[in-house]
């Protein structure tokens, strides 16, 4: 079971790095989802090792927040895309100058 802890660490690090090195907004959002999912796995593992239901319910609430965050993030990216025909943060800087 310990291998899952290392998997969650690995995926969290991968998501953090992806958030920093990706260039378009959709991919950044995908990497944020990666981090959220790895934290969910941590909660599920803690629930298993402590034998309590609370951590599983935390995962439930995290998933609700992730769903709301994903929907709002995507609609903001779509609104931006309609306005400047681009989904790259670099272009937003050029547009605002």
């Amino acid at each position: 079971m310990m291998i899952y802890y290392y998997l969650a660490c690995f995926i969290f690090a991968l998501g953090l790095v992806g958030t920093l090195i990706k260039k378009d907004l959709i991919s950044i959002l995908l990497c944020i989802e990666l981090m959220l999912t790895s934290v969910n796995l941590f909660f599920a593992l803690f629930s298993k090792s402590l034998g309590s239901a609370d951590a599983q319910l935390q995962v439930f609430f995290t998933i609700i927040i992730a769903a709301a965050e994903g929907a709002i993030g995507i609609s903001m990216i779509m609104a931006l895309f309609r306005k400047i025909k681009s989904a790259y943060p670099d272009d937003i800087l050029i547009y605002s100058e």
């Binding site: 991968l14 959709i26 599920a44 090792s49 769903a67």
Partner: protein, 167 residues
Amino acid sequence: MLDTNLTDVSLCLFAAVFAVVVVFNKNPVVAAFSLLLMFIGFGGIYFRLGSVFLTTIQILVYAGAIAILFVFVLMLMNLEETKTFIPTKNFSLFAGIVAILAMFGILTIIIFNNTDYLATDKLPEVSMNTLFTKLFETYLVPFELSTLLLLGATVAVVFISKKRIPQ
């Protein structure tokens, strides 16, 4: 204590490979589909941990709703493949790899020092009955607040994405 067997290793490899594809891939559509597959792998992991509730939620909400939403939006936007990933300077790739190793190292050391505490399986599995009793008694107020959050998110999405009529 649960022993690690071939199922655990293959589930971990499945999830890890698709997570790597999400980050180090130039095509965003491929990244979104591999995220979907990674979510399904995580559903398998939750099942292996004995939580049917989390497996169901993971497959229905994450794989069925969030990942598919990403795929739909990517089909609408039609991004260029080459601009997605930063290949301009080798320095940023190097810094990325160093950051992965540092973050992974720190978290791994924390877990490795607490192995005895974390790897135990103290109590019997949480049944659906206790889970939902807890959800609707102890966590009733957060549950209701989360429904309000989802309602607010729906209204916000409609407001953000509708066309503004010039006055």
